[in-house]
Structure formats: structure tokens, C-alpha cells
Symmetry: C2
Subunit: 296 residues, 2 copies
């Protein structure tokens, strides 16, 4: 496993790979790896010649009162796990080289960053889009892997890549869950046994929403109400039903949507979500594609 | 001359150059080329294997009341001039491909974008840093050339390149002036003969400031007052004396500085500037470099 600590070393390594004709898969992380990250690394290893992981707890995405200082840092176990999964390099830059004195530049994806997690964490997504743009400039990957667990982040990164014209494919991978349904998260380790039980309300409420949607419910307000009822035992931060691509609220469910929830459980702020495309839209999508095929 | 109208074509062209081991010089412009641009193209042609020019009148850097619609568009003469100077490709993307529907991502360089031209033109520098980041991602040059005429822009682009970790050298070239001292600008063509004469006040006032500095004046307020007196015949937008790198106001001239002026002359908003490094700082800089040489 190659450990790269400076942008210069990282870029040299990547260009050397490319010179040898190898494709580069990239998995950006904050470390504290769990099965969710493992699924991204596995997919990257399967689809690219080499896989590089970044481990960087990004100060720009934490507000002053948040858990930057206590966020779990487990470099040695992360390194062993990444190596076992087939990653060949880790980019682990120092914070003062990523944000040197006089740092002034931020990448902001408007509108998509405002609601949901952006509502309760105002600098959060600006910090993420900025650091991901920087990582992309240094790692220069062909493909980058993100988990649907952070669905709003995925939508923001996809929009940023399109808008800033990065030549990188963004691959969004499904949420990995514990056997009982809890979405995997580095912050789950903050939970007591009691918290852990209450945390199950999130995935159960979303599962209930999916059943309603499968049964034909298309009124967003009714679906949100049902999710809220199912989460009455936990301190809800938000429940949102939005367009899956641009994160704008939806009233009638007539396109691919995202239902996202956040709650404060004990010391942890947990998030979870499902995506849903109404069957009638799937039919429409196929039809549109066929039309375009004829016209172009 | 290769004319490239899509990001895909442009990127393919650049990567093909690189595959052949050629260095790429890049001169971003809004067209309406004059001798100022010519000096950038000449330098790029001299220092790189191939030079590509972009011509794009960037809507994101114009406010609604500004001259976006009437900004001079002279593609055929620009193309001939660029070819005569030795540029081999022009990237001229369509506006709707640069800013597609749902465009949401902006690169903002804080603090450096606030004062001077940023004070009178609030979206201006955000539009510039955004489009330059996009152009860099598509053209992927080794070096990019900018004119000191737009000194605040140069400082912002240099900071952006450092902060977002672009692997591109930014080269800042001196201001090119008419024989009588007027800084060259695409907007000079808006001037009547009377405007043209009044416009000379800008370069004369800056020349006067340089004489004061050469004579040892180090009080910023006194230098600014002298510039203001020398510009009393024109409607001043701003007179600023700032740190040349971070564009923050300076009281005592004890480091490299920028004196920048803007004025509204007839239908045109004109800018001009000088940079100045006190002799006592030059001595200090040499000393510091020598020290670093010993330590590293």
C-alpha cells in the first residue's frame, strides 16, 4: 500500500499510473472505514485498474460546535482494510497543506446545498464540494465512488462535476445496512444500546414510506406525514421528500424522488434515505430514450 | 487554426497534444483582441510547444445593466490575429453549453474579490473565477497567461489555483499601453476623442504616484490623495492602494503593493494600475531567499 502525504506525490503517482494506461478509481473518505466504504472500494477495484482512497477529516465541513475533534481517526485499521479490499494507494494529506494560510477559495453548489442537511449545517456542503474539487484536481481519477447514504452530497457532487466540467464519472452506490436495517455510519459507534434501538426508527419509517409508494400513494405531504408518525419516538431534524437530482421539494410524486431523514439520537446526528422512481415514470423514461434514439 | 466548439473536442485536442509530449500554453480571452492580448499570445507561443486561446464572452461576469449584449464580438479578425501570432487552436464554446439548464456551481475567492472592481461589480469576480476554473478543467494547460491590466483578477486567479490545487502556472504579463500611456482595453473603442483625452488622467495619475514612491513616500493615504488630485477631471469609481497578493488595504507601504484606479469615462468604465515594491523590501526578499536556501 502506497501512502501519499502531499499533493505533489499524489499527482505524480496518478500520472504515472495513467502513463502506463491504467484507469484510476477513487474513493474519498474521512477514514473510520466500515462496510459502506468497503462496498465502494470493492466496486472501484472491480471496475478500475488501480484504486486510490483518500483519508482526510475535512475541517471545512464541520461547524465549530460539531465533532471535528472527536471524529474517529483509525488510520492503521483503515489502511489494513483498504489493502485487504485491493486498494493500492491512500492519499492522506495534512490539514495545513490542504488549507494553507490565507486560504480563500470555496466551491459552492447553490440551491442543492440549501435544504435538508444544508439547513441544519450551513457550511457543510460548501466544505464538501470544495474539498472534493481539490481532491479531484490532485488525484485526477477516471471514476469516483460515493455512497447513496449521503444522497444530498451525491446530488451536489454530480452537479458540481457537470457544472465545472470535471472529466470524472461519479458512481453512486447503494446504502449498506446492518442486519436490522440501520444504515452504516462512522458515527454509529457513538450510540449506546438504547440509542441503537431508537435509531432503527429511521430505516423503519423509510421502509413504511416505500410500502405506501408501492401501494400507489403519490401525494408527498401524505408520505411525509406517515414518515413523521413512524418517527415520533426520535428527535427529528428533518424529513424531506425532494426531486432526486436537484433536491427541490416535490408535491406530487411524478418523477424520481429522494426521501431523506435526519435525527439526533443520543450524541449522534444520524441520516438515512430511500430513492424511489414511480413505475409510471420508468415507462416514460424508456419511451423518451426511444424517441431520442430516433431523432439523433 | 483549429476551432474547437465543445468541451469534449477541446479536451480531446489537449490530451492528444500531451500524448505527443507537447506543453500547452493557454490565453483565456473574451475576444476583441488588441496588443495587450497579443503580448500574452506571443509569450505563450515563445514558452510552450502549442498555444490555445479561448474566446468566450462570459455572461456570468456581467451584471444585468452591464455591456454583455454590446461587448465587441470580432471573431474573424481575432482568429486571423491569433493565427498570425502563432496560436494553433481557439476554444470558442457556446454559452448554453458552458451554463446548461440548472447551472448551480460557483467558485468564489473570498476577501480578494470584495474590494476594488468587486465593490462596484458584485458578481464580477465570482463569474471570472468560475469560468476560469471551468476553462482550466477543459483545456488542461501547463501555463495560463493573464495581463496585469486586470491586476485584481490576476491575484484572484493565482489564489484560486493555489487553493484548489490546479497544476497550472499562472503567468502575469505587463500592461501594454498606447503611445500616450492609455492602457489597452477592448472597451477603449467606446471612447469619443474627448473621452480619449480625459482617459489619459488615469495613467498620468498613476505615473505621478510612482514618482512619489520613487522619491520615498511610504504613507498610503498621501499617495492616494495625490492620485485623487491628479484625477479630479474624471468621475472616479475607486482609487485603491492594497497588498499586491491579497488585495487588502495597506496603510504603510512596506511590502509589494498595487495601486489600482477605475473611472467612468463617457460610456466606458476604464481601469488602470501600477505595482510597486519598495527597494527596502527587495533587499529583504533577497535576504529571506538566501536564508531559505541555507535551511532547505
Amino acid at each position: 500500500m502506497k501512502i501519499l502525504e502531499s499533493a505533489k506525490e499524489m499527482r505524480r503517482w496518478s500520472r504515472d499510473q495513467r502513463r502506463h494506461g491504467r484507469t484510476i478509481g477513487f474513493v474519498p473518505t474521512m477514514g473510520a472505514l466500515h462496510e459502506g466504504h468497503a462496498s465502494l472500494i470493492r466496486e472501484s477495484v472491480a471496475k478500475n485498474d488501480v484504486t486510490v482512497l483518500s483519508i482526510f477529516v475535512n475541517p471545512a465541513q464541520f461547524a465549530p460546535h460539531e465533532d471535528f475533534d472527536t471524529y474517529p481517526r483509525t488510520f492503521e485499521t483503515d489502511r489494513a482494510m483498504a489493502a485487504a479490499l485491493g486498494a493500492v494507494a491512500i492519499y492522506a494529506p495534512r490539514s495545513d497543506s490542504v488549507y494553507p494560510e490565507g486560504y480563500a477559495t470555496y466551491v459552492h453548489v447553490e440551491r442543492l446545498s440549501d435544504g435538508l442537511c444544508g439547513g441544519s449545517r450551513p457550511v457543510f456542503f460548501r466544505g464538501i464540494s470544495t474539498v472534493v474539487a481539490k481532491l479531484f484536481n490532485v488525484v485526477e481519477p477516471d471514476r469516483a465512488y460515493f455512497g447513496q447514504k449521503d444522497a444530498q452530497q451525491c446530488a451536489i457532487i454530480k452537479r458540481m462535476v457537470r457544472d465545472l466540467e470535471f472529466d470524472i464519472d461519479i458512481i453512486e452506490m447503494p446504502i449498506i445496512r446492518e442486519a436490522d436495517g440501520l444504515a452504516m455510519s462512522s458515527r454509529n459507534r457513538y450510540l449506546s444500546e438504547g440509542d441503537r434501538q431508537r435509531a432503527l426508527n429511521l430505516s423503519r419509517a423509510l421502509q413504511h414510506a416505500r410500502e405506501l409508494l408501492d401501494a400507489g400513494e403519490r401525494d408527498a405531504a401524505k408520505v411525509i406525514d406517515a414518515v413523521r408518525s413512524a418517527m415520533q419516538d426520535v428527535p427529528i431534524d428533518y424529513i424531506a421528500l425532494v426531486d432526486a437530482d436537484d433536491i427541490a421539494p416535490v408535491e406530487k410524486i411524478d418523477r424520481p424522488i429522494l426521501i431523506a431523514v435526519a435525527a439526533n439520537i443520543g450524541p449522534a446526528r444520524l441520516i438515512d434515505n430511500i430513492k424511489y422512481t414511480p413505475v409510471e415514470c420508468k415507462a416514460k423514461t424508456v419511451h423518451t430514450t426511444a424517441m431520442q434514439g430516433i431523432q439523433s
